[in-house]
Symmetry: C5
């Protein structure tokens, strides 16, 4: 799982029908020990994450499994909101 920060929303009216009703958030992977951040991308949110929160994001076929609907066209899903991290310096 990647450690990401939620940084925005995205809207798409014209889309695969099965995406309707899914909450799509813009996230960026972050480095907990530096200022590095990834190119922003889009993940489905199933845990009610808000802007600025640090979250756990799964990718690939796991992202579909996380939605409990294996046929959704989703390859990134937010599966947890991070409360705290304890990382060795």
């Amino acid at each position: 799982m990647k450690i990401c920060e939620v940084i925005g929303h995205v809207w798409a009216t014209k889309k695969e029908e099965s995406l309707s009703g899914l909450k799509l958030m813009v996230v960026k992977q972050i480095d907990v020990r530096s200022d590095w951040e990834s190119i922003p991308y889009v993940a489905a949110d199933m845990v009610g994450a808000g802007i600025g929160e640090r979250v756990l994001v799964v990718e690939g076929s796991t992202a579909r499994h996380a939605l409990s609907r294996d046929n959704l066209p989703v390859d990134s899903t937010i599966v947890g909101i991070i409360d705290s991290l304890d990382v060795k310096k």
Copy 2:
């Protein structure tokens, strides 16, 4: 999902038969906060995207699921046309 821009078309006469009839577009991943862009690659289009539009692209096994035909030899699919993005500065 990646945030991409559609930048072209590709034609291939000699190909896997099951690809016939699929619309293949050239896309590049973009960064909504800078001029960075990825190496162009090819995605199947199921939503009627046009040149210059910003789209959502899924990859891997999800790209096949998005086409509702799990046996197609496709690993990138356009699943939505982006209307707007709201990203934290």
Copy 3:
């Protein structure tokens, strides 16, 4: 499999229900021949790994298979603790 070092823990109260009870560790991929290290990410631990240990991490759909529960929303899993490495200079 990636060669990683365990460097921390992560806690997430609000998460996919099926993640409850899983031990989530922060890991970084390392280079056994230089000081290079990857951006830290999160893996489920099934072998009792501790901070500072070098481990083998699998990713993608294999990470779910490693947990013997194919429906868990996990895409990285620690599957072994490295005793020793013998690498050609």
Copy 4:
């Protein structure tokens, strides 16, 4: 799908039995707008591609599906020969 150029052949006598009879080509991903090219890798060819041709390559589980034999140990497959590309400058 990646846009690649076929640049060579590879021979392996000692291999997984199920690979016998498959044509394995060395390819490199190319950038249609610059001289960038990837590290060469190996893809199975199902469309009769020749050295110097530009091709479409699929990866991951899709590469197995493209071979119509889901149990082959292949993770990259050439699925089309590119006739022409029309890319926005």
Copy 5:
């Protein structure tokens, strides 16, 4: 498939039970046209590869299929020993 060189062994006593008996090798991806090499990682060996040999490595779900046991927690597998490569300059 990646073109790799076998550079070492790895031992892990504490591991997922299903990994017992598998031969795990340290490999690095190489560039057949330059001195570039990847960060070393670990692959299961099913073809009897030795240190210093150039091999074909598959990744992802294909690595499990290559082992003929879809439930093994392995995401990289050596599937062939390269006899020769013929690459365009």
